[in-house]
Symmetry: C2
Subunit: 417 residues, 2 copies
C-alpha cells in the first residue's frame, strides 16, 4: 500500500520547524509493508493545499495530511477539505465537549477561536484526538482514504498510532510481513562497500532490498525483506547477514542497529569495566554522547576536558616534558592523557583525544583535522593518529565517533586474548 | 522570488533521516525576500524525480534539488536531469581531479563508482562542491534555473551559502534591500512576549515584520525589513530594537544573533577572564558547546565531567561529607564543584551542574528534571535550582543552555558593580 503525505504549515517552509511527522508516519506504517511514496509540504494557503491534496489523491490510495489545524488557521484547511469532499460545516458536539474539557483541565478560558475547532465538514468521520483540541478527520472517495491530522508531533504520533493506523490496517490490510536487519560497518567507504558486494546484491531476490545509510564515520547497511511467511523471511535475512559478516568480516562492527556509544556501553557492561574520557580537541563531545544514554552511570566514571596544557599536566598528570618534546598533539601526550584519566578518575579504560579541530592552528606537520588518540586498558595503551576532513564541527564529530568505535574494537580484541 | 525544493532520497521516505536541507535553504534565502513555495520529497526513482521536477519547474522560477547524488545511486538523478534538460553524459575533468584529491587526502582508494561521480550531463554548468565529491549542477531553461545539490546537510549548506546563493542572487536580484535585527530574549514565554508587544507589533509599518524564533531555553526575535534605502531602513530597525530593549529590558540578553555560548565567550574575552566547567548531569555538553567555537582556547581552560561521586571528590575536591549530608544533587555540592573547577583547572570563573536528567533516579524531593547549578567568580559563588521539562535529552540541552545564559548574566552583573 502506498501513502502520500501532505504537510501543511507556513512554519515548515520558512525553516522554523523541521517536519518529523512524515518520518514518524513512514516508520509506523513500515511493519505493514506500506511505504510513503512522496511528501509534499505546502503553505497554509487554500490553493496550494487543494493542489497538493488533489495530486496526492491521484497518486496513492491513502493520503495523510498533518498540520493546518491550529485554532488561528484551521479554517483554511477545513474549508479546503469541504471543497474537495463536499458537505456542510457543522458543529461536532463530541469535539466541542472534548475541547471544553481540555481547556478546563489546563485552567484556560475558551474563546470564539477555540470553539471553532469543533466545526467540521459533515462529509468526514471525526476521530478522537486524545492529546489536543483539533479533530482528526477521515474522508473517503472512490475507495481512497484521506485522513487529516494535527501537526503537533506528539499529537500526530499518538493519533496515528492509536486511532488512525489501526483503522487503516483494518480497511486496507493485506497479509504481507516486513522484517529488517541492520549492520554497522566501519573503515570502509560507501562506494568500496557497494563494489565489494555488487554481484551478491544483484543476485538478491526481489523481495529483499539493501539500503545504504552512511553516517559520519560509519555506514549502516539495512536489509529490508517482505513476504508472507515471517519465519522463512527471517531465515533468509539471517542468511544474508551471515554472508555479509563472512565477506566483510573486520568491517562489521555490529549486526544490530546501534550507535557507537550504545555499542561501547554494551561492551563495557558485558566485560564489567568502567570507562573515562580525556578530551582535548573533542572538547567534551565523547562524554556528552556517552551521557545522553540513560543508565550509563553504571560504567561511565566521568571525564576531563583538558583544553589547556595546564589541565593536561595538572589534572591528568601528563609530563610537561613530554608535552614540550612532542607537542600537545601527539600520540605520546594522548597516551599519558588516557592513562592519567584511568588513574585520576578511577576507571578501568579510557580514551584520549588531542588534535587540531581548526580552522586555525594547523601546520605542515600537524594539519587541521589531525587527531591523535589513545585507548587505555588494563592490557595496555594503544595509540593511533587520524586525519579527518571537513570544518571544525565535522572534525570534532568524526573524531568522537572514531574514538568510540576504536574503543569498542580494542575492548573486543583484548577481551578474547 | 519563489523557490520550489525537491528532496530526493529513499532514506527520507522511510523515516531514517529527517530533511533539514529545505529549512536551511528557506532561512538562507529569506534575507533576499525570497520564499520556499513548496517542498516535495520523492524516492530515488526516475519517474518520481522527473514528475516532481516537472511540477516544480511549472510552479517556481528557481528549483533546488538536494540528494540523490551518492556514489551508489547518483545515476538515477543525473540521468533524469539529462532526460529533462537534454545533452550527453560527459566526464568533467575538474570534478574528477577534485574527487581524486579528496580521496587522496583521506587516504582512500578510488574505484569505478567514485569515478562515475565525475560524469555529468553537458547541458549543465558544474559548480564546485568544496566539501564532497558529488558535483553541484546548474541547469537553465526558459529563464528558469534548477540547481542540483548533494544531500549531506553540511555539504548542502556550504554549497548553498558559498556557491549557489551568490549566483542566484546575481541572476535574479532585484533592487530591494533587506535588513534584519535579532534580539535574544530570556526568562519569558513566547505567548507572554507576544502579548507584551502586541499593540506595538500591530503598529509596525507593512515593510517591517517580526519573526518569533523560539529555541530551547530562549527566544530569538528577528525584525525583518525590506526597502529601497538601506540607510533609512537601518534607522527604522535600530529604533525598533531600542523600543524593544526599553520595554523588555531584563529579558534582553543580546541585540545580536548569537548563541549563549558565543555571548559567554564574548563576555569572557571582554573581561579578560578564563572559564572552566564542572558537569554532572549535563555530562560534558556545556564544554562541548563551548569548544565548538573556534578560538575559544583563549578563555576556556577545560572541564571535568564528574559523573561519579569519586570524581566529584577526588578530582574537583568536593567534601565527601557535603555530598553525604545534602546529596550529589544539591546547591551545596554544585557550589563546591564550581569552586573546585576554578582551583583545579586554574580558571577565573566556572559553572557547575548537578541534577537528575532521567528517566530514572527521581524522587518526590528531587524529581527528574531538577538541576542545581553554581556560578563561581572571583566576586563569589551564586547558586540556583531549576526544574526542566521533557525527556533526558531535553533536560540536558535546556540545563546546558540555562547554565550558559546565567553565567553571562552573572558576569555582567558583577563586572558593573
Amino acid at each position: 500500500m502506498e501513502i502520500a503525505v501532505v504537510v501543511i504549515g507556513d512554519e515548515l517552509l520558512i525553516g522554523q520547524v523541521v517536519d518529523t511527522n512524515s518520518g514518524d508516519i513512514a516508520r509506523m506504517v513500515a511493519p505493514a509493508g506500506w511505504t510513503v511514496r512522496c511528501v509534499t509540504t505546502v503553505h497554509d494557503d487554500a490553493a496550494a493545499i487543494r493542489e497538493a491534496i488533489d495530486d496526492a489523491m491521484s497518486k496513492a490510495d491513502i493520503v495523510l495530511t498533518t498540520g493546518g489545524l491550529g485554532p488561528t488557521k484551521d479554517d483554511i484547511t477545513k474549508a479546503t477539505l469541504r471543497d474537495i469532499f463536499g458537505g456542510e460545516m457543522v458543529l461536532d458536539r463530541g469535539v466541542l465537549n472534548h475541547v471544553k474539557d481540555v481547556f478546563k483541565r489546563r485552567g484556560l478560558n475558551m474563546n470564539r477561536l477555540t470553539e471553532s475547532q469543533a466545526m467540521v465538514p459533515d462529509s468526514c468521520k471525526v476521530i478522537h484526538n486524545e492529546l489536543g483540541t483539533a479533530p482528526v478527520m477521515w474522508f473517503e472517495r472512490d475507495g481512497k482514504v484521506l485522513v487529516s491530522m494535527p501537526g503537533v508531533p506528539f499529537e500526530t504520533r499518538y493519533a496515528m498510532r492509536h486511532e488512525v493506523l489501526p483503522r487503516l490496517l483494518e480497511r486496507f490490510a493485506d497479509r504481507s510481513v516486513i522484517e529488517h536487519r541492520t549492520l554497522v560497518l566501519v573503515d570502509i567507504t560507501e562506494s568500496d562497500l557497494a563494489e565489494r558486494i555488487a554481484s551478491w546484491e544483484d543476485s538478491l531476490p526481489a523481495h529483499l532490498h539493501l539500503a545504504y545509510l552512511p553516517q559520519a564515520g560509519y555506514i549502516r547497511l539495512r536489509i529490508d525483506g517482505m513476504g508472507r511467511d515471517r519465519g522463512a523471511l527471517c531465515r533468509e535475512l539471517d542468511e544474508a547477514v551471515e554472508w555479509l559478516c563472512r565477506n566483510l568480516n573486520v568491517h562489521v562492527l555490529a549486526t544490530e542497529d546501534s550507535t557507537p556509544e550504545q555499542l561501547l556501553t554494551g561492551e563495557l557492561k558485558r566485560l564489567g569495566r568502567t570507562f573515562a574520557t580525556a578530551e582535548s580537541c573533542t572538547g567534551g563531545n565523547i562524554a556528552h554522547r556517552m551521557t545522553m544514554l540513560a543508565g550509563v552511570s553504571e560504567v561511565f566514571q566521568g571525564g576531563v576536558v583538558s583544553y589547556s596544557n595546564e589541565v593536561k599536566a595538572g589534572v591528568l598528570g601528563v609530563d610537561r616534558s613530554v608535552i614540550e618534546a612532542n607537542g600537545a598533539v601527539s600520540e605520546q601526550v594522548a597516551s599519558q592523557m588516557a592513562s592519567g584519566a584511568c588513574r585520576k578518575l578511577g576507571a578501568d579504560c579510557a580514551v584520549a583525544t588531542s588534535g587540531i579541530a581548526g580552522p586555525s592552528g594547523g601546520s605542515a606537520d600537524k594539519p587541521v583535522g589531525m587527531v591523535c588518540m589513545a585507548f587505555a586498558m588494563p592490557e595496555g595503551v594503544h595509540t593511533e593518529t587520524f586525519r579527518f576532513p571537513g570544518d571544525r564541527g565535522r572534525v570534532i564529530d568524526r573524531a568522537s565517533t572514531m574514538a568510540l568505535i576504536r574503543m569498542v574494537q580494542w575492548l573486543r580484541k583484548e577481551s578474547v586474548r
